[in-house]
Amino acid sequence: MTEGREQVLTAIRRALKRGPLEGEDRAALERRTAEHPRGPVPSRAQLGPQETLDLFVQMAEEAAATTRRLQEWGEVPQAVLAYLKSRNEPAAVRIAPHPDLTGLDWQDGAPMLSVDQGRGEPDTNVGVSRAFAGVAETGTLLLYSRGESPTTLNFLPATHIVAVDAKEVVGGFEDAWDRLRAAIGGVENWPRTVNLITGPSRTADIEQTLQLGAHGPMNLHVLLIGDAGG
């Protein structure tokens, strides 16, 4: 093990014609890593709040997701039920144990809906998650693993419904990274899994023809709650 490590590092340094980096050379690289400078950010990722939200919706739908705007979180149970009914799917969902979802009045808002919570299981047909952010430049959702957001719920269900606050939709990925670093208290608390999700699962492996629903969800429905940030 340590033998392999030394062999590889020695080979690299021999090819680079130098020893291990020390002093200011090393400090400069430490600084670059800590400061993580941004490269060119596309102009479409730097729009105003309303345009950013509109772009998110446009790009997510281009990627074959469906979206719905809601005024407030209390409307989520009813919106979930309405979506499943419109598709003739059984009215049973598993929700992520996130307080924004578990705190909703599912009984009152969607009395016909059977609701339980936890990780995704092989027989979970519909999963409901709470995204950490939306990224407008590509219509992408960001979710990260923790007790209140199990990763299996993003992949095992045939239908994935994701709720996100409209104010949490940012322009570009760099904005999402800065928010995430702040939320977890620095990269030393980096989670096991971060998922960027753009539309439902698909494949073009058969004669380059697009088929939705390869291994992950066949349907991705995004609920955007409230108004754009400002």
Binding site: G4, A11, H36, V41, T140, G147, T151, L196, S201
Partner: protein
Amino acid sequence: MQPTSHAFKENARVALDDVQLQRALGNIKSGFIKKRAKAVDRLPEFERLREHATEIKNHTLANLDFYLERYEGQVTAQGGQVHWCQSAADARQAILDICARTGAKTVTKGKSMVAEEIGLNDFLEDNQIVPVETDLGEYIIQLRREPPSHIIAPAVHLNRDQWEADFRAHHLQFPPERALNEARQLVNEARQVLRQRYLDADLGITGANFLIAETGASVIVTNEGNGDLTQALPRVHVVIASLEKIVPTLEDATAVMRLLARSATGQEQTVYTTFSAGPKRAGDLDGPEEFHVVLLDNGRSAMLGTEFQDMLRCIRCGACMNHCPVYHAVGGHAYGWTYPGPMGAVLTPSLIGVDEAGHLPNASTFCGRCESVCPMQIPLPKMMRHWREREYERHLSPVTVRSGLRLWAFFATRPKLYQFATGLQTRAMKLLGGRRGRFSKLPLTGGWTRYRDFPAPQGKTFQQQWAERRRHGGAA
């Protein structure tokens, strides 16, 4: 896998006569090229991102040891382990040791070209471990016991009727009279079969598009979601990655990511971009209990500081092969190893030697399309020329090439004689070409005229025309 790159010429001849293959290759020309062009046009910052991504990778390669150690430090702090492997054999052994220690008998796999490079599936089977490919394209070629023919679309050489025949032959649990003539039906059947394999697996292996030094995360970029089920469900997750996949920060990965999907499939962003770091944390409801990274060198460090260093910027998007007239004609298998197309023609001799793969850099018309679409601005034609020079220096070129070049050199170093001879030849060929102006057969040009006519020169030689233009003061 046992390379057959030395037999490129024979492989290519077989490929040109393969009717099924030629039909399938038509899908590449119509699909990838247009989609990429559209996606690139939609992002005005694309060129600036190319420049920036090139700088990031050059910076990273110049400090490769620092960033790899930094990455390892993060992985270790999260409770994972990095296994440094100099050779393919070391990497295979590291994975087998993990399987043995954790009692893994069934292994699911996301698509990984590095796993193909080290011949992992055959090795695992030889050691009584069952590998299951879960990417749809990788799954079908595993059933067929074929290598991939493209780095992002491994089954691009197959047609739908071949999929159907293979599924009928292998999926005997389903009624034989079922309909399977549509892509939708094939995808649904594969989804059903593989779902159970994910749940049964003891260990999941994925590749990596990036390793991020800042966070200790490895990143996979997929559309199907197979890589995610592969790494989220089993007890153990093993990442296999070659060492040049490292980038310093999330922002650096983002810059390269903005180029990757657009260059590869013409998507704005792949469906799933997944960052994995360490095993499940306290309080997590799912995720693996163990996390390992098998970090492979396998000849790459020896490319640093050479004329082939730029090749280590490659992000495996496949744009070079999607735009290559040679790849369009012969497909990926003719190249005889894991990496086909222009990137393979440069990388393969570096990794398995110019003796085995010296023919590949000759499989180019030097049209330059590969370099013009490469998101990392890798000078592929220039590096192919470097290999040709090395091949020539080492006397690996066939005697006909060497004597032909010597004959040409005799004339080329005697300008008067050269002009006289080419002028004579041009006039003679014009006369012989007759009214058709083409030859269907011509001595010494069988390789050309077997597939198309050789046009007879019309008028004067290039040098004569050049001299006349200069005399008339025209824009030369």
